[in-house]
Symmetry: C2
Subunit: 398 residues, 2 copies
């Protein structure tokens, strides 16, 4: 039997334990899999296997029988120190910790390569949606041109409620909190930080150069109003929090609310679902869709990585390397090109004289929304400043 | 350099050649890859590498330097004989040939296992969409409960034209032929045989028992009329050719046109795009979407399999086995449960007395369409016969 340990018995960690206990993966893993330790700072005196709980990390890292360790603690510390020591000790590590992968990925992957072990993180992006593994295997024949994703279920739930039920942001956030989709402190989700980490991981995978999440311009959805949603609807769009990355020479990556044409498949991705579009030079557009969070969807991705690791127990591992990118690898946001949506009561002829042809939807008392043609962001913001416009939303192009 | 051969220099085979010539896969495959032979019965005197063409299969199978062979000939013979001999000779084989995999999969996979080589077929289903590999890796932690797919781009193009532009089946088929999406003899597509082979492959992968395509009840779209499309629209549905399989004790699989609620993500899959929904017991619903056919999308899936094979050049391979299923493994169609759609001018009270509560959409001159509640197909057809109804369309449930 191949022995594993689980670090952190929270939502995902306990899901991993339950799946491994309830299922027989012998045929798929070519070995039986058993959980030897669960590390948690809390006590679980009623647990059916309370004897396998430990608070002593040293016990795990020093146990030669432990082949693979699941890290579902979350957060950077001590997850980073633990993961590094486990890899150094020649143990395979499987994680759902997007923050850790996005922050220390290059170093941890390099150690894994040196030690001929796996550091696997399918569960770190898109919950249970297979996306990391397909990008490392099925899409290897393509040069990735673009990634477009709805990467955060909480914000997508909130926006869907605003769109479909006319709720305000605050009402929809409260609903999300009451349903357990949003934390009491929702900043990591609604300000886009969670989506930003995931986009950094996908971009690093796509192009092999480490995309630091700190270099990704990130806007959340806290400024989106029911009025934005209503005008967008009139113009044929829905508003989604989009993680967008492309490479055309330099890499450009941004997390921000965007107007998505209703006819795009991603426009119909509602509620807590996630979707990731990958555009390859040969494949064209493909989309991966499913539950981006939740105990069992996420745990099932962790367990699939454990099976993968156990299956190749004596084989050389398929390494990933994220190289240090050149200092100017990222295109500045001001150089990016988009169409832009804004609401104003400045007379249309003034707006047209600034921006050229615009698409408009009229409101009341001279207020209206408009969408510009494609222009550089620097040009748009300069022109918008002339009319006192400071708030705008970008439009997603196909 | 790892040497490969390509059998069949048609659309997909030439795409494979071009991708391998144009790209550098050294980092991904850990070896350079070169094409040593192309087998084709035709001559290509103008080809830039005309010297690598051969008509002699023996040259390829007897060349110890050929590590991996791409079979893009299509059809059963001689593709079957060639593949078998190549695997027996210890060569890895990568194919896009769904007919061959669906027909001889169990035997060919068993030979591959015995010889410690790969028989890989990502390109056989969904063109360039990663689906085979994710089912073999990322989804291994799940028991697959259900597969729902739009598996044939030709029929989806035809139905999309009928739905969006009000064309008749014949008009839409002619368009598809003129655009090169449909063959001059379109039977394999429009009668559902192509989708049936793909569903057989997906079902075999999902449950490990070989699902023989001959055991899959298959209906095409040739009987779908603009009137069906119009009434379906009024009732909130679109009509799609759906490959459907589930396992609940026994396996049930069918290819048939179905009414799909417009709110389902798969309802928005238009034109030549394909989508495959996989429902796992832990993951819930996930969907894979993209170009289901075409030279470069399909060739890119073949090349990804070649890279996979080359990357693990000295490793034990990840085997697939499709076991012989029990004689009664398949649930008879008459036992399947669905809601049903039909068009009639039989008075509503008679229809309601037969089927109970129905959903209706009125037409002209007393004609209307109705949708029943869920019932066994045998019950529906018996009751329908009473009123002389012979044509009906099933409704896809979530």
């Amino acid at each position: 039997m191949v022995k594993i340990a689980i670090l952190g018995y929270g939502t995902v960690g306990s899901g991993v334990y339950e799946i491994i206990k309830n299922e027989n993966f012998y045929e798929k893993a070519l070995n039986p899999i058993g959980v030897k330790y669960i590390l948690d700072i809390r006590d679980f005196p009623e647990h059916e296997e309370k004897e396998i709980f430990t608070k002593d990390f040293e016990q795990i890292v020093n146990d030669g029988e432990v082949y693979c360790v699941v890290e579902t603690m979350g957060g950077l510390h001590p997850a980073y120190e633990f993961t590094k020591r486990l890899l150094m000790a020649g143990k395979n590590v499987v994680t759902s910790n997007k923050e850790l992968v996005a922050t220390y990925g290059p170093e941890l992957l390099a150690i894994a390569k040196e030690k001929n072990v796996n550091y696997l993180f399918e569960a770190s992006v898109g919950g249970g949606i297979p996306i990391i593994k397909p990008m490392c295997t099925s899409l290897t024949s393509n040069r990735i041109e673009k990634i477009v994703g709805i990467l955060n279920g909480t914000t997508n739930f909130i926006l869907t409620e605003m769109i479909n039920k006319g709720k305000t942001f605050d009402e929809a956030l409260t609903d999300a909190q009451n349903k357990g989709y949003a934390e009491r402190n929702p900043a990591a989700d609604v300000e886009g930080h969670d989506a930003c980490r995931k986009l950094a991981i996908l971009s690093s995978l796509a192009w092999g150069d480490y995309v630091n999440y700190k270099d990704i311009v990130t806007e959340g959805i806290t400024e989106i109003t029911t009025k934005d949603v209503m005008y967008a609807d009139k113009l044929g769009f829905v508003i989604k929090l989009i993680g967008f990355a492309k490479k055309d020479g330099r890499i450009f990556a941004r997390v921000a609310p965007m107007l998505v044409p209703k006819k795009y498949p991603i426009a119909g991705v509602d509620g807590v679902f996630n979707a990731i579009i990958v555009k390859g030079n040969y494949l064209g557009t493909s989309m991966f869709y499913g539950r981006g969070a939740g105990k069992f969807p996420t745990a099932s991705a962790v367990v699939a990585d454990v099976i993968e690791s156990v299956r190749h127990i004596n084989a050389n591992k398929a390494y990933l390397e994220w190289k240090e990118a050149a200092p100017d690898y990222m295109l500045p946001a001001s150089e990016s090109e988009n169409r832009y949506f804004a609401i104003t009561d400045t007379p249309k002829d003034q707006i047209e004289s600034l921006f050229g042809d615009i698409l408009t939807a009229d409101g009341e008392n001279g207020e209206y929304a408009f969408v510009t043609g494609v222009m550089k962001e620097r040009d748009f913001t300069e022109k918008a400043a002339v009319t006192g416009l400071t708030k705008f939303i970008r439009v997603l192009e196909s």
